[in-house]
Structure formats: structure tokens, C-alpha cells
Amino acid sequence: MATTPLAGSADATSRLSRWAGDLRAPTLWAAVGAWLVLGALAWLVAPDWSGAEDVSAPLTRKLLFYHPASAWASFLAYFVVFVMSVAYLRERDLRRDAPARSAAEVGFLFNTIALVTGTVWGAVEWRSTGQAALATIYSDPKVLVVVVMWFVFAAYLLLRRMVDEPERRARLAAVFGILGFTCVPLSFLTSRVLASSLHPDVVGPGANADASLDASVGMIIGWSMIAYTLLFFALFLQRLRLARLEERLDEMEVA
């Protein structure tokens, strides 16, 4: 359903653009600060697992403060893609496309980090299961859902490069964005519902991470979520600003 842009919407867009630009530097500095604090907490405050008998990979376990938060940041980014994609399909307003594209790109970055860190962590932590490490990791339902999500958003980004016509590109991308986001609630549900899942949940209702994770660990994981959220917004705002500038240049070159 096509709608006529409301009066003054162009002003609203430029205000949004300015707001994104103005917020960019403080958000980036806040993210850098939060990451430095996260590093200090992970290496100075978190328990030293090297002496623990039940921990097979004490060094790699430090990824606990980075891997779940990477997944969280990708889920947050894909939520933005979902909201903007639904808004685009309802309003057919191309201004909804740039935030979706920017969030998808940043989300794909965090999704890739979560997959690679999860794979190397799983390779050392789950090697005692008797199966080949990779087979163990990629037969886990939660990991499978995240892999599918990664492929959907890889297709989303490829599709954006292959289709030239802006309306068609935005419509197809919106459908892929909504489809890809359905993996987010699925990945939350799989490890909570399916008993076969090896993947522990460290946050939220139904968390089943092992008992060696004490209160300080929970606090650092909480802080890592804040640090990654800030980094997501810093990268997203920067990418959005560039996407808007690119659109404006395209218009000027056509004119």
C-alpha cells in the first residue's frame, strides 16, 4: 500500500540524519569505554578457571564474556531489520530501507563473530562428548538455527548488491529480513525446549548454564551485553549516516 509522504517528512528525515550524526561520536566513545571496562572485568575480576577441575578449557572460557553478547548484538540488529522491513512493506517508503540495510550489515558482522567464536569454543569444550568436534557443534539445534540465520542474512546482503532497482531491492530485502528474523525467537526456544541441545543458556528465563558461573560472572556477562549494545548503536549510526549520504549522492548524480 503506497502512501503519500506526510508534509514536513523531508525535514523529519534530515533531523533524523543530524541526530544520527550528532550521536555518532558520543556513542562510539561510550562503546570504547564500555569495552575497556569489559576487558578489565573479564581479566581482573572474573574468576581464574585455570585451577578448576571441571573446566576443560580455562583460557577459552573467557569467551563467555564475548560470545553470548555477540549473539545478543546480532539479534538486536536483526530486530531493527525486522521493524524497518515491516515498516517498509506497510508504507513503501524508501527511507525505511537505509536503517534496515545498515542494521543488517552490522548484525551480520556480530552474527559471524558469534558463529566463529562459538565454533572454536565448542571445539575445545565439547570434545569430551566422543563425537568429532565439528559434528557435535553443528548438530546442536541452537547452532543450526543461527547458521540458517547467517545464510539468510548473507543472501540478504548479496541480494542488495544484485538488484539495481531501489523499490524492488527494498521489497525483496524486506521479505528476506522478516524471514531471517524468525530465526531469533527460534534460537531462544530450541535450547530451552529441546533436551538434546548441548548449548547452555546463560541469560533469561530457563537459564541452564553450569553452577561454576557465580554472581560476579553474571554481572560481567550483563556488562558485556551493555558494551555490545553500545557498539552496535555506534556502528549502526555510522553506517546509517553513510547510507543516507550515498542515497543523496545517487539522487544528485541522476539530477
Binding site: A57, V116, E246
Partner: protein, 48 residues
């Protein structure tokens, strides 16, 4: 794939910081490309 704890740790953290550094570099290159396009537009605009 038999990874030692140290190798997995190094691979994991190299991935995190390497991927973030790569993305920041890519954003910087995009900004430079857009700045060059803007300069070209400026140069091609007829003078009044």
C-alpha cells in the same frame, strides 16, 4: 579438529578484534569513496 585451549583462545579473540577492525576499515573506505564522489560532483558543477 583437535584444538588446544591456547589455540582456541587465540583464534576466538583474533576473530573478535580482527572482524571489528576489518569492519571499521571498511566503513572508513566507504566514507573515503563517498567523499571522492562528492568532490567529483563539486568539480563537475557549472560555475555561476
Amino acid at each position: 579438529m583437535a584444538l588446544s585451549d591456547t589455540t582456541a583462545f587465540l583464534l576466538g579473540f583474533t576473530t573478535i578484534f580482527g572482524a571489528l577492525a576489518f569492519y571499521l576499515w571498511r566503513l572508513d573506505r566507504t566514507a573515503a569513496r563517498l567523499a571522492a564522489r562528492m568532490d567529483n560532483l563539486d568539480r563537475d558543477r557549472p560555475r555561476e
